[in-house]
Symmetry: C2
Subunit: 298 residues, 2 copies
């Protein structure tokens, strides 16, 4: 039950004895807790697993707070984001408070676990910095994009799976690999959903990523498929509020060149690799998590 993690996090924040921080914290939507589910599925719901998952989720919340400031987001999971309701300053600081409290709690865990999790935070911060740079101008650098995606999204899932395996005395490397594949595929599919979902399902305008400057995999593939003139046109639309016609042109060209299918196949291959890894050790629950991810609504 992920609610044990919610209670634990709340008690961590209460321990700080700061009513302003607690009030701000309570405004955060707590989300699906995918990383907790991973840890629980691997390690069971022991007290140790709850403690570790709580630090991981606090770190995840902190990174989202800073991410929303950086993206100038106004909503988070359908609710108004803290940067929008209470200002960037409060959002940055609440993020720092959650990070530092999580690190404080890590000092009570084994150095091995503390190292894996704090290393993931380094990676996710580096990924966020790379994202800022990659989003500043149009690019077609698939390698840089995938590295950023791994750092920003997959590193904490990879760490969660590895730490879960350590708690359960299972094969670290294998679960680590599983978590990494799952994390990369997760973000790839998120990127695809930004293109294929309508704005109502998504809670944000369609093609939002490209408008925000993010050149995700389907756009890189699209660029590669276009002729010279079309490439220039695509570049001219980058980071722009798109008219209905412009958005339709992008979506039409994407359909024509089957770029979403290509990106989806790539995500699917990673998920299948993850399923294979878990099947090899009889972890059907974890295979199911991977399977559910690739079957998210398109």
């Amino acid at each position: 039950m992920t609610s044990a993690v919610d209670r634990k996090m709340e008690s961590y924040i209460e321990e700080l004895g700061d009513s302003r921080a607690l009030t701000l914290y309570r405004k955060l939507p707590k989300g699906k807790k995918l990383r907790t589910k991973l840890i629980f599925k691997i390690a069971g719901e022991s007290q140790e697993a709850i403690d570790v998952a709580s630090t991981v989720e606090m770190i995840h919340l902190a990174s989202l707070l800073h991410d929303d400031v950086i993206d100038g987001a106004t909503t988070r999971r359908g609710k108004i984001s803290v940067n929008a309701s209470d200002g960037d300053k409060s959002a940055i600081m609440l993020g720092d408070i959650l990070y530092s409290k999580a690190f404080y709690q890590l000092t009570d865990m084994s150095p091995q676990i503390a190292k894996i999790i704090s290393n993931a935070v380094i990676l996710l911060s580096l990924g966020e910095l790379a994202d800022v740079e990659l989003s500043s101008k149009f690019h077609t650098n698939k390698e840089a994009y995938l590295k950023m995606l791994y750092q920003k999204t997959a590193s904490l899932m990879e760490a969660s799976a590895e730490v879960g395996a350590i708690l359960a005395r299972k094969d670290r490397e294998l679960f680590r690999e599983y978590g990494k594949n799952l994390g990369i595929a997760f973000q790839m599919i998120d990127d695809i959903l930004d293109i294929t979902s309508d704005s109502k399902t998504l809670g944000k305008p369609a093609l939002h990523d490209f408008i925000e400057g993010k050149v995700t995999l389907p756009y890189i593939y699209l660029y590669e498929s276009l002729d010279r003139e079309e490439r220039e046109y695509l570049k001219s639309l980058h980071k722009k509020r798109l008219s209905e016609d412009e958005a339709l042109w992008i979506k039409g060209k994407m359909r024509e060149n089957r770029v979403v299918e290509r990106a989806y196949a790539e995500a699917k291959a990673l998920v299948e690799e993850a399923i294979k890894l878990m099947d090899s050790v009889g972890e059907e629950g974890l295979s199911d998590i991977a399977r559910a991810m690739i079957e998210r609504e398109f």
Copy 2:
């Protein structure tokens, strides 16, 4: 030699293997390293002390990066600040990278030391959040102000002194108290210098704090000394770009009511307490550090 700490920090950042982060990091002015000096003076310049001081200085740099974003500062130690040169996003992320790398390095130290330092980071983040709130409107809450000042500035000095004492197997509590007094006095004097120094010496406009919304101790004392009409006038000047006349009125009233002297006496009492603590254990070098602080230029 604090340069060993500069080299260590640089190598920590190089280890990340991220040229963008390294380039940004190299733009940071490395400052006086007061916390390193404290640690070295207490514990000597062992490799252990260098390692601890390097994590503390990285944390300090991270907090300044976020602080400058929050204050919208354009300079830091006379150089253009990273938020001004490379944008808020990069400054927030470089801060997160420095925090997480510091925490990662802490996992190689004793849990006792890691706990003290990470607790200080919680406090300084809470202090920064409190500062945001206190600066949002005029207040005369001395207690809240002093608590914020302790959290935001003194907590990391307190932790540095305590950790230094642990490394040197000296009296933790005594050195902790010394570091706390020193840290609070340091910030009180900084607040006074913002009033008494001219803009050239300070590298920022005079009365900058009040213009930015920060109601420091001299302003609280001034308010208490004024009559009802003058109080309203002072409040009307809060968080405003001040005309020459308005600035002169504030400074004149401060002189008339000797509020700077009163704030200075308070800082001095803390420093004298710190000196007494160090004299009691024959730590003359540390008494000298405290003495030098109170004798900064007025």
